[in-house]
Amino acid sequence: MIVEIGHFALVLAFALSLVLSIVPIVGARIGDQRLMAVAEPASFAILGLIALSFAALTVAYVQSDFSVANVWENSHSLKPMLYKITGVWGNHEGSMLLWILILAAFGGLVALFGSNLPATLRANVLAVQGMIAAAFLLFVLASSNPFARISPPPIEGRDLNPILQDIGLAIHPPLLYLGYVGFSICFSFAVAALIEGRIDAAWARWVRPWTLAAWAALTGGIAMGSYWAYYELGWGGWWFWDPVENASFLPWLSGTALLHSAIVMEKRSALKIWTVLLAILTFSLSLLGTFLVRSGVLTSVHAFATDPTRGVFILMILIVFIGGSLALFAFRASTLTSGGLFQPISREGGLVLNNLFLTTAAATVLIGTLWPLLVEAVTGEKVSVGAPFFNMTFGPLIVPLLLAVPFGPLLAWKRGDLYAASQRLFVAFALALLIGLVTLFMIDRISVVAAFGVAVAFWLVFGALTDLALKAGIGKASPSVMFRRFVGLPRSVFGTALAHAGLGLTTLGIVAVSTLEVERIAVMQPGDTLDVAGYELRFDGLVPFDGPNFTEEQGRFTYSDRSGRERGEVVSSKRFYPARQMPTTEAGITSHGFSQLYVALGDRAPDGGIVVRAWWKPQVLFIWIGCIFMMVGGGVSLLDRRLRVGAPAAKRSKPARAVEVAT
């Protein structure tokens, strides 16, 4: 019964989203207030219905109702409760339902906070959201119904793919979808602006918080996915340039570009057309990512679904939305006037440079991801594009950008002074260079390239700190005045500094782990020891262990440092899930500062020993800590009162301690 209610709610939501996609647009066209006013209640009702539908599916999972095909295929009565709930989106149908739920939630948020938007813009934005919702609801209802029943109901479920039975599944997909789908708001605003043929700085002020929120969530989602793959897949890689990873990285790259171009548009009314195009492209890349992952066109680590009818359906959605919005752009973009002029060396110029490199990087990743498909479609031959290609092309593209980052915030709007900015950055530059040189001479077997990478990482961190220090008035004011100015800095200044410093930390982690990692592989008998980067790893033996829905053999290790002092235990195990007849490895990981000792078990050797692979991963945690910095930076920036949703009248009360900040 509950399941049928969920299904019915989904159908109702589809019908309502059709109404939402037509009525408000007509209202905005003919200027009918009543038709436009349909948008908000319809958005709320769609959100309510989809939430009900999602809740119904969750209940079916929690109760292990195996008469529902989706539950039977992806759940098991013995599965821990957390994984019963996360299993709701650990499959194709459920994850599409989550996608739509988040889409509806964003629509609801716009309806809730949109009271200060011009009425026609609000109606158009919500209508475009309605169109996206209608397309995907139809997709779910027609080809991916999560509520289909089976009769007679089986006694036991087939369990969730063991790789997905992890806390990562609770965090990674929802965050990722918040990012993917969050960009739909930017898309809807862009399309609405094109429909109206009017765009101004207020538009950018409206779009920026959504971009920031989506970008921060996507950053977190990608980082979480990366860490999950790192500890779960058992070979210690943190980024594989897998097509599915690229699919999430593409909207991140163009979303980062959008974030920066929207600043120019808000502050200086320039780059309007480009910003609108980026908003369309970013969500198009999100849709493309959804297509690549969901259609199974690239059978990859993440692909749960291989069903061509679904692929064709999503491809149609893709063509309609990307093609439609780009056609609209081609017809209407000329009606948007471009604003403020600026010199090449200026804050605007820096942000344009950022956009040039980020979009080129995105295009490179895009063509590398699609190249095997293109070649196969045209010539029938099969080629591969893997990590070596991406490292070779993406690296050189991103390094100049990283070098330029600290200059950006120090340049003035309209006409900047590169020489003055360089002078102010001298301390940061000298410190970074010093650290690079020290690394080069202190650590043996480090290459010049690696030392350069370390220097770049610190250049980013010190550059971000320099920006904060200068804006607080270092050297020009007394410490107490400086402190007050520092506290009074706009939140967005902190956001920028945090995100740029985070980029530096991530760079540091990547450089350190790719150049200084130590790997040891050996066949070990109980009592054997292995030297890993100065740590002595002793194998104590294999212990059997029974989990709720798996059995495992735990390899127990003790490790001690150079002085022979015991530092702790590592447990690395090989699991077996009987429901799916699948083995997995659970790597044993311990952290030391920001470095990690990573131990994975391999096959049994014929002589009774076991293959042990151990890695020393220096500073590896910085990769994800940097991402957290970026995410927090996005969040802090979102708190900037200038951007606070629903608070445009910033002049209502002038703050008592009005602090002038040179931005």
Partner: protein
């Protein structure tokens, strides 16, 4: 279709086993040769996996390829000769880094082209803005002259 399904299935097996592949008995005794073998392995695709190099995969075929690469290295082949040999046996699909050939020209040229075109457009628009701001067209100059004369 059958092939694709079979590939997907094989890939599922190889991935879910989820562990790094190198076994100690495969390794060469000479560290220099072994390092070369590792570097080459990272460039070669495990044919039955998705986007995994033979260095990362524990599929049977990946193991065979690793052993093959090491055999060629021990036999005295240069890195290029080893890669040529593997490609001659398995086709270009095995290369994770596509070749610099005419067919892949667009792939390799994309970053350079985009950066070049984008940069050129930016420089041109900046120059146009500057000249538009500074110099007057002939018609404007005549108009200005006329105004200045009238005010004399």
């Amino acid at each position: 279709m059958i092939v694709r399904l079979a590939t997907a299935f094989l890939m599922l097996l190889s991935v879910t086993a989820g562990q790094a592949a190198m076994a100690p008995n495969e390794m060469l005794d000479d560290p220099a040769l072994e390092a070369r073998a590792r570097a080459l392995s990272a460039e070669l695709r495990c044919m039955v996996c998705q986007n995994q190099s033979i260095d990362d995969s524990d599929a049977e075929l990946a193991r065979d390829l690793r052993v093959l690469v090491r055999e060629r290295i021990v036999a005295g082949d240069s890195d290029e000769a080893v890669m040529d040999y593997v490609v001659s046996r398995y086709g270009e699909f095995v290369l994770l880094r596509p070749t610099f050939t005419a067919r892949n020209a667009l792939l390799w040229a994309t970053p350079v082209l985009l950066l070049g075109i984008g940069g050129a457009v930016l420089v041109m628009s900046a120059r146009r803005r500057r000249t538009a701001g500074a110099a007057l067209s002939d018609a404007e100059a005549r108009k200005l002259d006329a105004i200045l004369k009238r005010s004399d």
